[in-house]
Symmetry: C2
Subunit: 313 residues, 2 copies
């Protein structure tokens, strides 16, 4: 029936994806408070912020203060994101963890509409970034394939198309002598279903059996946790998720569309399936409640509202 | 990998479970409006109301007006629930569909706390009800096993315990010469996980291969759709669900706990897995929005907020 991993690595992306989606004005101290609370939950990795243009994304204008203010903790990677060389260099200066991130989009239309780049321009930019990473002594890093399953403009993305774009990114890493640390398939707009997850994970696995597959799933249409289960049962052992389901889906064309799979619900699913996460579920549920308090409105996650079920009262 | 059914029967329980959970005062005309909208979606069965004591459940004081006011439609079963002989007789008078419902609880403590009955009293009552059904010419009907996976008082319910209580109810039906039309396993408080769903479905199937298994799942802790997928992949072909996720979980000890799995998300999952439901998804999403409008607050369902994904734009 399944090929469950013994342990999964869940990367918490709420502080980046979530606070980026909220209206500007959340105090830096509150963002730090949430990251520090998350650091105490056993989550092994937290994406704290994005190094992007503060004129375009004012929510991230305080990234350096966040980086300087959070409490580092052994065993917790405090990471971040960026889109170009300038962002990477700022991220390096910040002291946050900077994995050698190579990214692209399975949908060319999505890439053009959201990043104003052709596939060729994207690959050229990623090649230069990869060189810059090497210049800074960075080895292998993750490959992120956005809109791996579908996009608003192109609809379903065929597996062959996603594989073609994934291969472009894998080649950049391999050509630099730094093969991918993992290949993260992103359901950027929450379009995927379990059938698609299985098909693409299988295809990536067959072609690159040595590179771990990761899933970055959105719960835009309520299938997020079913997609995660499909991945888990194929042995996928790396997931992104956001506490409380913090964040929305900016590309769903609707501000009330749900964001990432809620970290605490993914951790609960893992726990119930007998898969180790290293996460203290009760602490994570408290962090989800804190996130809700900070943003000042209900988040999509359900577990934090109901509370954990006591299996042996 | 799976034993998916070709087609599933989804019973919409939102008007009963949902309106029962909302504060009293929703106009009867609005309840009828939702039921009529649901009748046009292709959903084959709708639980419209409960025949219970209006002093205890004032939300259901207008059951007769609802029953009289809804538009009947070929191919749609408009059903209802009751807890005792008086409720059944009222239900018969109302003209709503009255399946010969036999029910009990896997958790004895839950039964005592919520219905003030011992298992023996419950079985005695169900035996009398079954006799009454036969007196009214009703043949086989569904068996409902509440708290089949867990309860707030007893925690996890072992498979053996659930099977024992299920066997009691099955015997009542068999002894009356009316074997169960199906055995509905209810995750009444939203405590289940896919491992438990598989274990209990397997056990019921092995013992009673001739009686179809149905699942009544709550999404209290975010695992509802994963539990549904586990059931689907074992070939379960009958589900209860509520439009928009209407309703809460009165037993979770928290008014903001989520209710049943959202019908439109379950229907989407089925559609994506290649399982026929007969449901017009776009119409059902509109009905979920109508439900949200009627109750005047956001419902837990996510698909109705994001909208359907256009796979071939």
């Amino acid at each position: 029936m399944s090929d469950l991993p013994a342990r999964v690595h869940i990367a918490e992306v709420g502080p980046r994806e979530g606070f980026q989606f909220e209206p500007p004005g959340i105090p830096t101290a509150e963002k730090i408070r949430l990251i520090d609370a998350l650091s105490e939950t056993g989550v092994p990795e937290i994406e704290c912020a994005s190094f992007v243009n503060p004129k375009v994304v004012p929510q991230m204008a305080d990234v350096f203060d966040i980086a300087a203010g959070i409490a580092k903790r052994d065993g917790v990677i405090h990471g971040c994101m960026w889109l170009n060389e300038k962002g990477f260099l700022q991220a390096r200066d910040s002291g946050l963890h900077t994995p050698a991130l190579t990214s692209g989009s399975a949908s060319d239309t999505f890439l053009l509409k959201n990043n104003n780049r052709t596939p060729e321009q994207q690959l050229d930019g990623q090649r230069k970034l990869r060189q810059l990473y090497s210049d800074h002594g960075l080895g292998s890093g993750p490959v992120y394939l956005f809109t791996a399953f579908g996009c608003n403009y192109e609809g379903d993305i065929p597996v062959a198309k996603a594989m073609e774009r994934a291969a472009d990114l894998v080649s950049i890493c391999e050509d630099a002598g730094t093969p991918p640390a993992c290949i993260t398939l992103c359901d950027t707009i929450g379009a995927a279903d379990p059938v698609q997850v299985r098909a693409l994970v299988d295809a990536v696995r067959s072609r690159w059996p040595d590179y771990p597959v990761a899933l970055h799933l959105h719960d835009t249409r309520g299938l997020g946790i079913a997609n995660a289960m499909a991945g888990l049962e194929l042995g996928v052992a790396r997931f992104d998720a956001s506490v409380g389901g913090l964040g929305g889906c900016p590309f769903a064309g609707n501000r009330s569309a749900a964001g990432n799979v809620a970290t605490e619900e993914l951790a609960l699913l893992c726990d119930r399936m007998g898969v180790e996460t290293g996460i203290d579920l009760a602490a994570l549920v408290e962090a989800a409640r804190l996130a809700e308090e900070i943003v000042g409105h209900p988040l999509p996650g359900k577990l934090s509202k109901a509370g954990l079920f006591n299996r042996r009262p």
